[in-house]
Point group: C2
Chain length 333, copies 2
DNA sequence: TTGAAAGCGCTACCAG
DNA sequence: CTGGTAGCGCTTTCAA
C-alpha cells in the first residue's frame, strides 16, 4: 500500500506539498505538480479515503438503514436514493438491518465515523424508540416515518388519504363487501392505511362491518388471505391489500381458483411497484413514486449536510395518486 | 461528538484502559470496566468507526460496484450479497457506478481505505480494462465476469450453455424461425448468450439464418423489438431475448397486438427474475439464481479476507437450469 | 492490570 | 510557493 509519504519522497517534496498537488490546490508550481503527479502515477498511488475522512471530518458517504431488502419497494427506494446521491459524488453505505429495533440502533451506531448523514427507515411505527436525533448526533432524515417529537426531518407518503382513495374507488365501482388485508400490526404505514379504509367504510357503507385479514406485507400473506377467502366462503366482492406485494399474490391465487379478478372480485393494492403493471389484469393501486420518495429524502439530507437549515419543509408528505387499472375495472388486458 | 478520551477522563482512567474495556479485552478489572462503561453510557459515547479502522487497518465493510441499479437483477444480487455479508457483521458500500469503465475505475479507487474487499461487476466484457487486481491492491471477487489473466477469483453464470438450453427447447417445441434479441454489444454475458443461440441454430437448423435484433437489457429494447417484428412482418415463430427484462416487455407488446404468446409465438428469456412468474403467460427462462450468485461471491470474498487461499475454487461457474413455463408451452395460466 | 506514547494516512495550519 | 508539524479518534506495543 503506497502512501502519500512515499509519493512525496519519490518526487522530492514534502508530504504537505504532495497533498496539495494531488488535491488540485492551485498553490503549487506547475513543475512541482508534474513531478508529484508523475511519481504518484509511477507508484500507482491511490489515496486512502479512510484517513482522509478522519482529518477532514467528512466521509463523503451517506448511510442508509432499511428494515429489509426484499421486494421492489426497497430496490426502487435505493435506486432513488442513489440517483440523488450519485449526483453529489457521495457513496452509499447500506447498514445491516434485518428487522429489530435493537439491531437498527446498532446499525445506526456503527455508522458513526463512516458517514456524514443518515437515511433511516424505522422498522416500526415508533421512530423515537430508536433514540432521538440528539442521541445519534448525526444529520438524519427519516424515510417513510414521522418522528413523534417533530425535530427530525422526514419524507413520507400520505398513507391515510391514499387508502381512502382506493376504498372510495372500490365503492364507486360497486363494491359493497370490501375486505382489507392489513400490514404488520406494529407498522405505521399499515395502520394508517387501515384507518383510511375503516373511515371510508364507516362514512359510506355504514351498514357493513369492516373485514380485516392480518398480513405482513409479504407475498405469502397474499396467498394465505386468498386461501382464507376461498375456503371460508366469505361474502366479499373486493379486496384492498395494504401493499402491492400481497395484492399480486392474492390475485394470482384467486385467478388460479377460477375467480375473475376485475369482474367477480375487484382487487387493489398500495405502492405501485413496477410489477403492478405487468401482471394481468393490471393492478389498481396507489401510486406513491417510491423512487422519488428515496431521492427526495436523499436530497433533503444533502441540503442538511450543506448547512442549509430546512425550516418549513423539514417534513415532506407526498400525496399519492390513484392508478386505476383493470383489476378494478374489468377492462380487457 | 464525544471521544474515547472524554470517556477515559470521566472514568478516571487512561484512554488505553478505556479502549480495552470498551472492546471487551478481558485484561481489565471488573470494577474499572464498570466505571468505564458507566461513563460511556452517561456520555452517550459511540465509537468512531472511521478512526478505528485506520488503526486496525480493517474497515469491516465490503464494497460493491455494479454497473447499474435498474431492475430486479441487481436488487436480487444485492440481496444475495447482503445475506452473506450480514452474517459476517460487515457493511455494504455501494459504489457509484452508472456505466462507463472510467467511472468504474474511479469508483474502485475511491473505495480504498473504506472497505476490506471488493465485489465488482464490470460494465463490459473486458474485466482487465479495469486495471488488474495487482493495481487495485485489494481483495476482489468479480461478479458475473471472468478475468482474462485468471488471477482474480470470480463467480459467473454459464451463459453459453444456458442460451443453448433455451434455443434447443424452442426448437424442440417446434420453432423454426427463432429471433434473438441481444444485449449490449460490449457485454460479455450478452455475447456468450448470443453465441449459444448461434451455435445451436447452426447445429440443428442449418438451413436457416440467425436473426438478431440489437438490444440493451432494458425494457425499452423489448418494446422496440416487438414493434420491429410486428411492423416488418417478419417471419418468426419464436423469440429468445437475452434477458427477462426485454422478454417481458416484448411479450406485453406482442400480446397487446393480439399475438398469442405461447401459441402463435414462443418467447423465452434469461435470468429468471421474480417477475417472470407473475406475468401471464409465465415466462420460460434460464434460471440463474441471481441471489445465490451474489451470496456465493460474497462468501468467497469473505473467505479471501479470512486469509484462506481459495485454490481450485477461485472461480465458480454456476450452471443455470431451464425453467419451462407457459410462454413456450401454451399451457393455460 | 494499567498508563504513556507511537502511530494508522492524511490534511491543514503556521512559518519560512 | 513550500516544508514542518500537529492532530483526526482510536488501537496497541512497551514499560511500569
Amino acid at each position: 500500500m503506497v502512501t502519500i509519504r512515499e509519493v512525496a519522497k519519490a518526487a522530492g517534496v514534502s508530504v504537505a506539498t504532495a497533498s496539495r498537488a494531488l488535491n488540485g490546490l492551485s498553490i503549487v508550481t506547475a513543475e512541482t505538480r508534474a513531478k508529484i503527479e508523475a511519481a504518484a502515477a509511477e507508484l500507482n498511488y491511490v489515496p486512502h479515503s479512510g484517513a482522509r475522512s478522519l482529518t477532514r471530518r467528512k466521509t463523503d458517504a451517506i448511510g442508509v438503514i432499511l428494515p429489509d431488502l426484499f421486494g421492489e419497494f426497497f430496490s426502487e427506494m435505493i435506486r432513488g436514493i442513489d440517483m440523488a446521491v450519485h449526483g453529489a459524488g457521495k457513496h452509499l453505505l447500506l447498514g445491516n438491518m434485518h428487522g429489530s429495533t435493537e439491531e437498527t440502533v446498532l446499525a445506526i451506531k456503527s455508522m458513526r465515523g463512516r458517514v456524514d448523514g443518515l437515511l433511516v427507515m424505522p422498522p416500526n411505527s415508533r421512530a423515537e424508540s430508536l433514540g432521538d436525533a440528539a442521541t445519534w448526533q448525526i444529520p438524519t432524515v427519516l424515510l417513510n416515518a414521522q418522528p413523534q417529537n417533530g425535530d427530525i426531518p422526514f419524507v413520507s407518503v400520505d398513507n391515510y388519504s391514499g387508502a381512502r382513495m382506493v376504498t372510495e374507488h372500490l365503492i364507486d365501482r360497486g363494491a359493497r363487501k370490501i375486505v382489507h388485508i392489513s400490514g404488520p400490526a406494529s407498522n405505521r404505514d399499515a395502520s394508517e392505511r387501515m384507518q383510511g379504509y375503516r373511515d371510508v367504510l364507516r362514512e359510506r357503507l355504514s351498514d357493513t362491518h369492516p373485514i380485516i385479514l392480518p398480513g405482513n406485507f409479504r407475498e405469502d400473506a397474499g396467498r394465505n388471505a386468498a386461501q382464507l377467502l376461498l375456503n371460508r366462503d366469505f361474502e366479499f366482492d373486493a379486496v384492498f391489500a395494504a401493499n402491492d406485494m400481497m395484492a399480486v399474490d392474492l390475485m394470482a391465487e384467486l385467478t388460479r381458483a377460477g375467480v375473475r379478478v376485475g369482474h367477480d372480485v375487484l382487487v387493489a393494492g398500495f405502492d405501485d411497484i413496477p410489477l403492478a403493471r405487468y401482471i394481468s389484469p393490471q393492478l389498481t393501486t396507489v401510486h406513491s413514486d417510491i423512487t422519488r420518495l428515496g431521492s427526495s429524502a436523499a436530497m433533503m439530507l444533502l441540503r442538511l449536510l450543506n448547512g442549509e437549515a430546512l425550516g418549513a419543509d423539514a417534513g415532506i408528505t407526498i400525496s399519492p395518486t390513484l392508478a386505476v387499472r383493470a383489476s378494478t375495472t374489468g377492462a380487457s388486458a
